[in-house]
Symmetry: C3
Subunit: 253 residues, 3 copies
């Protein structure tokens, strides 16, 4: 199986699908093609939330603001999966999740001048993913286009500061529902379920489910990602909390 | 085959796909993941317009404003298909269509506390759909997690009043083109093809095809769903008729 | 394999998928369902950019402003592929690409009155694609519903005027990134890589990659389609150049 992830919108991913279908018999599943444009951190986050649910597969990821420059192309082997994409950090957090505490291995995928300087998803990464799939994840080192990568760009999400009486965190991403996903671990607030904490100084109820407050009301919950989430039942948390990606989040309990 | 339908947008459905791929070999086809958010009636309508065209399959449907509350999870068997989703009515109209006048059977899918209280699509419904698929639609009662459901929430679309000289109906949904889909049966107006009727007191031509009027002009037609539709050739009917979902529709002929 | 392309948005394509799954075992891959509404030229362009990357397949294309009128349905055989869609030109440029300088063959798909006059994607083209797929692309003439088409609507993109010192072209389409794709061949400007040309009288750098200029800065590049493209690094070219589809483009070098 090959999964495809990008910020390409439509219809560019179809050319990648065609290339994969020509060069392998792999089943294709789309993860998403509407990641926020050229937002490496947001894409990296969403990959940690989606790829670990798949069985071992080759994951082709193209969020690539440096397309056409000399940034490297990588193949990462982690927990029986392979990730293929640009060397800008986008693959790393998901690789850590897939390795599940173990090691992951980095290879550079070297390539001749591709047909385009603007669409490496079609001309570099889709062919690389198909080749890795056909050779098998265990055989990456036997592919003559790969060499062990001794340097690569890391990406880590910012660490929150969790204290006895509160936490200082940051908004990692905002999802399509407007739910505000922070970097504060959910277990910080589970003792407060049914009660309230303060968010930026204002008291907000902490609940297990959106529907535990009235439609339109704000709540703090623990999202499916395991982090503290600022939300509104049947509404948008980002608007109700007037907050955006990368903004600081101050919680007290 | 497992079909997936939700109001999750992107990228949450990818986690559901991953779970299905890990727990079954089923082919996956997406129906839609952009149903209007938490709009059970609209989703129920669109399922009646799409699921009956599929061969027998397991249809996993997650439009679930009550996620995390004690609402039940259901498996419905109808006409060789199985529908899996929350007990809020969303599955029922499609089940009636799939049963094609026959009976459908309701089972409750019981589950232990899932990993999340906000993403039962990933943690409850996708695993349930994969399990039903692997066991086979005929074996639902043998799955130890299911019990016959003796109570469940029904959902019926409102009935129109059709008279000799007109009809009083309601807007069921508006599609992405802006076509206004009413609950008035199309056969009410087929005698008027080539002529006109009044909509809210104004005369509008009744035509078999959008292109039978000039671009930008209003028409009444019979949509692919078999109901009376208020439309504009190459334009938006909802704007031209200034009408929205659930609004009354008064037709005279 | 059957690919699906349309301007239907969601969820109408799901009914087409269901029909295809009922009538064939073909693998289905979506090309796009968000082509600009009823914009035959834009769809025709995008098909030239996507279908040639697929292995031989049946491509079902529905961008069909004339649905329900007496416009013909076509099956086109080109380079081992078959294209199925309305006779409005939308299939022709991709057929030329797939034929790769060779001939392509046009057949009319004749059909009885379909269930709907507004959704031939479901009632005419999806069944036709499934039938062609099951019969095989080499057997189109043996299908009793097809007859050689002696007349059909052609579609050609406008030719640019390329001179020694510049070119007069036109905007073909604008992609989802806001990149302005012209009909001026890319080789016209490759000598200017690293230098600048004028666009509408203003000097703009010509670069191989978006990232070769600062974020927010304009550039001229050669897109993955091989044509001259007006773009902004990490921004929208259409807004920065204040230009839209079909507008003239005046370049001097």
């Amino acid at each position: 199986m090959i999964t495809l992830s990008s910020d390409f919108g439509s219809p560019y991913p179809a050319a990648m699908k065609g290339v994969v279908c020509r060069e392998s018999d792999a089943r294709i599943e789309d993860v998403a093609h509407d990641f926020p444009r050229q937002d490496v951190r947001a894409a990296a986050f969403w990959l940690t939330q989606t790829l670990p649910y798949f069985p071992p597969a080759v994951h082709c990821v193209v969020v690539d603001p440096g397309v056409g420059t000399d940034r490297a192309a990588l193949v990462v082997r982690a927990g029986g999966h392979a990730l293929v994409g640009p060397d800008n950090g986008v693959l790393v957090p998901a690789a850590r999740e897939l390795a599940d505490g173990g090691d992951f291995e980095m290879f550079e995928w070297t390539y001749d001048d591709p047909a385009s300087t603007t669409f490496h998803g079609r001309d570099v990464f889709a062919p690389a993913a198909a080749t890795v799939h056909e050779a098998g994840v265990d055989s990456v080192e036997s592919l003559t286009q790969t060499v062990p990568a001794d340097e690569w760009i890391d990406l880590r999400f910012p660490d929150p500061i969790v204290r006895d009486q509160g936490a200082t965190g940051e908004v990692l991403v905002i999802d399509g529902f407007g739910n505000v996903i922070t970097n504060v671990p959910g277990e910080s607030v589970t003792d407060a379920f049914g009660e309230s904490i303060t968010v930026g100084g204002e008291r907000v109820p902490v609940r297990r489910a959106y529907a535990a407050v009235d439609p339109g009301d704000r709540l703090v919950t623990v999202g499916s990602h395991g982090n503290v989430e600022l939300a509104v039942n049947q509404g948008r948390g980002d608007e109700a909390f007037d907050i955006e990606t990368s903004a600081p989040v101050e919680l007290t309990w």
